[in-house]
Structure formats: C-alpha cells, structure tokens
Symmetry: C2
Subunit: 349 residues, 2 copies
Amino acid sequence: MPSKQPKMKDVAALAGVSIKTVSRVLNNEPHVQHALRTRVQEAVASLGYVPSKSARSLRGSRSYSINMLCHSDLSNYVNAIQFGAVIACQQRGYQLTISLMDTVEGKSAAQIKDELQALTAHSIPDGVILVAPFADDPHVIQAFEELSIHVARIGPSLEPEGHIHIGINERKAAFEVTSHLVELGHKRIGFVRGLENQSVTEQRFQGYKAALLENGLQTNPDYVCKGEFDFRSGARAAEKLLELDPPLTAIFASNDDMAAGVMMVANRRGVKVPENLSIVGFDDSEIAENMWPTLTTVRQPLQQFGEVAALKLIETVGKPTPQMVPPTILKHKMIIRESTAMLHTSGSD
Amino acid sequence: MPSKQPKMKDVAALAGVSIKTVSRVLNNEPHVQHALRTRVQEAVASLGYVPSKSARSLRGSRSYSINMLCHSDLSNYVNAIQFGAVIACQQRGYQLTISLMDTVEGKSAAQIKDELQALTAHSIPDGVILVAPFADDPHVIQAFEELSIHVARIGPSLEPEGHIHIGINERKAAFEVTSHLVELGHKRIGFVRGLENQSVTEQRFQGYKAALLENGLQTNPDYVCKGEFDFRSGARAAEKLLELDPPLTAIFASNDDMAAGVMMVANRRGVKVPENLSIVGFDDSEIAENMWPTLTTVRQPLQQFGEVAALKLIETVGKPTPQMVPPTILKHKMIIRESTAMLHTSGSD
DNA sequence: ACAATATTTGACACCGTTGTCAAAATCATA
DNA sequence: TATGATTTTGACAACGGTGTCAAATATTGT
C-alpha cells in the first residue's frame, strides 16, 4: 500500500506551522525564524515531500523547466550538451524538456516567432538552451526576446550581448591546433570548413589563417574546402584535397566527423596517416578515439556547456530582461593523439 | 506590444459560451452541439489559444508529459529513439522530458524505487519510456508499477507482458544476417556479444546459433567473444578473434560500434575487408555508412520505436493498470553494404 | 399537450501552490 | 512602561483549468 504523495498541508501540520511558512522555507525566503525553518525542513525530509511543479508554476512565476531547442540532425555534439543540461537541471529540481524545430531557412521572422510560441505556449520554460544551428540565428534569438523567454546561446562570441552565451575561444583553439601542425614542420596544410550558417565555421577558419600568417605561410585558397560537419562532406573534401600537387602534408578538418571522413579517404587511397598526412579534427567527440589512428583534436567541454547554460538560466529566473552580459568562455584543450606527426623532411620542402 | 496569452475565459467570451463548454471541446468530450463545437474551435484558432499545461495537470489527472529515462552513456541508439519520441509528443501537444539515472547495479529494489520517485515526484509523467539498460531491469519496471506510472519498454520480447513494449524480432534478425554470411559461403563465423545485462545480447546470440545449426554448422565457443557494445570492446574482441587458426572468414559483431572496432583492427592488421574477412554489425546506426568499407548490418527502426512508445503511452493515459499486452514488433531490415562478400574458395575449405 | 426521459449547458468548488496583506509578536526608543 | 518601528506569521484569494452536479433544453411516448 503505497503512502500518498504528501502535500504542503501535511508538512505544515507535522511542523505545526502554517502552509505559507512551509512555502517560505521551501523557497528560501527570508522572514522565517531559524528554529521554525529547521523544524519545517525536518518535516519535509521525514515525509519525503516534494512540491508539485504544476501548482507552483500555475500560481508562481516560474515553471521549473528548461527547454532545449534541437534541430532534427542528431549529433553527439548536441547529445553531450544535453547530457550536461539534464545533470544541472536535475540537481536543481528542474526538468529538462526537449523541443524540435525544423530548419529556419526561408522562414520569416514572424513565422519563426509563431512556431516558437506554439511550441512553448502550454508550458513556458524558465529558459531555453540554444545550440547549433539555432544558436546563431538572429530571428530565433529575437523571437524569444519578444516572448520574454530567457535564452542561453551556445556558440562563439567574445563580445557582451543581451543574453547568456557560452563557448570556447574558437579562433584561439583553431590557432593552436594549426600552430601545432606548423611546429611539426607542415607547410601545406589543408582546411575543411563547416556549415556556413554556423559562426564557428568562420571563427575556426580565422584561427587557421592567423596561425599560418603568424608563421609566414600563405593561405592558399586551393587548400580550403567547404564541408557540412558530417563524415561524408569530410570524405568529399579529402577527395579533392588529396589530388593537389604538390601534395598536402596535413589537413585540419573543422570537426571530428569530417576528420574521420578525411581519414577514411586517406586510408583507402593508401596515404599513410600520420607518416604522409597529418590530420586534426575539432570537438574531441567519441569518434576521435574510435578511429585508427586516433585523432588529434581540440576538446570542447560540451557537457560543461550544457551544465553552465542550464545553471545560468536557472539563476536568472525572475530577473528582468538580461542586460548586456559578457560571454562565459570555457577552457578548451588540444588533445594530441596518433594522427599527427613530425613531417618527414623528405627532400627540400 | 505582444498580446497577452489568451485564457480559456477569453475563448469562452468570444464564442459566447461557458468556460466549461470550451473545456469540453478542447478535450473532445461528448455532449457538445456541433454548432457550438465549431464556434469554439474557431475562437480558439483566432485567438491562438493554447491551454496551460500546469493548470490542466494540477486539476486533471494527466500531466501532458512523457519522460524518457536515460543512462549516462550517450549513444546514438538512445538519441534516435529520443528523436522519435519528441516528434510524437510534439504532435500530440505533449512534452518530452529527460531524466538521468546512474546504473542500477548493486542497488536494492527499495532504493531504486525511492530514486525514481524522487525523480518524478514534482511532475508525475503520464508515462515513462525505458531504454537500455533500464528496459531490461525488473526492479525499475516494478518500481514504476508500484508508483502506478505507465511504462513503455523498448527491448526484445515476444511474450505478452504487463506493460507496453516495443522491439524487433532480434533473434530472427540475427538469424537472417548470420544466414546471409552462410549463404556467402562462410563457415568459420565469429560472434561478438554485447553487454550481458541487456537481453538483446542473448537474443542475437541465439539467432546466430540457430542459423549455424540450421545449416549444419557447429557453434565453436572459441569463435565467441564478450563485448560491451562499444568500439573499444569490438576492437579487443577482434584482436582475439583474428588470432585464430584456421582464421575466421567472417565476424558478426552484435552492434555497429563493435563492428567498427573489428573493422579498424582488421584494417590495421592488413586483413582485407571483405576479401579476407566479412563483417556484419547490428543497428544501422550512422557509423555504419561512415566507415570504409561500409557496413552490412540490420536496420532497426529506432526512431519509430520512440514514436510508437510515446504514442502508446499517450493513448493509455487514464486507462487502468495495463493488462497483459502483446509486444509491438516492428520490421527490421538487413542492409547489405560493402563489408560482406562471397567467400574466396581458396583451396578446400 | 403533458409527463418522462435523454441530452446539452453552465455554476461552482477544487487541485496545490504562491502573492498580498493584515495581524501578531518582537524589538527599539523615549 | 507606553509607543512606534520592525520583523515574523498566517488567513485568504488567486492562478487556469477540470470534475461534479444541478438546471435548462430537446426528445420521446402516450
């Protein structure tokens, strides 16, 4: 016979106080004597009482839920962020909900707003986590602003903006990993770009260019290929890049999935990695260790992105429209594995 | 100036009916004249009214949310199911929430129940979707039963059970893919098992054994390796299996990730796939196409699993404790790609 | 045409919390 | 000690819907 879910009433009765006092204790409100507070907390614990989210959000101004807006492309990038977000939410008594939206391409600002409103109307979240490809979409951000729903954007930016945003210094990370290749003696270094609607694409490219420039190397447009952040486009890019003559000695693919594509093509063509070709990726997703040779890459603290995003949103609940706020820049880390090696100084290169 | 969220009151006023009538229309209750029903629906549409989840679930008996219980191991298996679940939920005006629980190993039934109760107490979902590794855990299932929360289990079973469950005929699928290898002339076929706490592991193994038996082949214990459903364990298994003499000509890894590990080791050892070794996986996850050669495998309708699970749960809301119900068996499909080929009849094998 | 019945509709209480506000208790000051 | 200021506490309404039940209306049978 399972005992019924206790209500606030029951806690109040047990502690010998009014319902409202229990509410005060639960919400960490001031104006409660220390002794009473303790008594209430004991009662709560002994009954295993948990307040009802529905009642709270109906009456109060918060919903105790954070929403993560996802695109239909599943990826372990998003997956890892979501994981961090759930953890943070769970710790704070929040719920993480998932919503899906098709790509925004070709939709008007009004249309986007309507869609997002419909998605959130029945249960307005206390905040929304935006990841690629929405994190860079001004319409989406603006829509939530108009709906006065707080937003945490996961994506690159070093400037203060009107909402929470979290990322790493993409440009610097790309700079470092490119420099690593240069230090290994590489001079003809290819680059595979990502999706053009995501600002990381340009940022990583800037880092690549800057590192070359710094070392007195030219950026050769022939060395740069488009890509779409997936395995296939990485493979396609490699097909082109490995045709070049004189041959490239290294390729920087701007994420791991594409790097895996490059690696596959290299293997298939008999180009030895890392002896004849060094490859680096970006993200340090699971796949980086699950290929052979294992992939040198840049680790992004994806899970932490999700955690911080959720936490900051929860902290901001009830606060007025967010002012200009500096981005939270987390630490990245270059992970050197087997796919990069010192260039064979074969001849006069 | 954004117009306020309309309330039921507003709809009622516009349609010239009572609040209760609006409620009736919204919940598809009987006893509303057709004319009125239409008028209300028009009013709802014109105001863009969406009922509040909090209010509904506070007063009513459903929460309009489905929870998916996940383990901390991210995988695209779970990811794909989640995707399907979100779609189904979104269509029906439901929310999908995500919860995380550590592994249940070594926890008592009571402890598990407490944890799950704490997880769901503040917002009791109308149903929970259980995937590996919880889908096969009797304690978890029992806990939800005691909490009278409906459960949809995604995992293999051909027998009626006391809750919704969805899967493919794992044994048959494994049988088919093994038979495919046999038809290609293979006789020495290795097998890599999965995690032992998931019942698919045994089911797939049974299918493998049955196919061998059917074709008059012996199951050789030396050909069978343990595995953990991840790349690394697949690689480890391959290291052992490829040592055998006479050498195996085919390996069936019981999921794609492990197959990828096998493939990597084969590549590294210079064993040509499929010329000298055929490899098959299971799942048809993204990685199956992202390796070289591409992987022959069995496609599971993962997204559909999620969709069906969510839908069935939503349909069952309010119904009494679920009776014995037959499993929903969805269609699998063998996907033949490049990693399998006719055995070279080199000599007298 | 009228009673008996079935159908449609609405008034109102209620779900479990939080916000408002006034009462009670405590403290500081004269 | 009386008075005012301050802190602590609780009574009560309210959030936005749904469930109950009785009233109003339509339908049927005689």
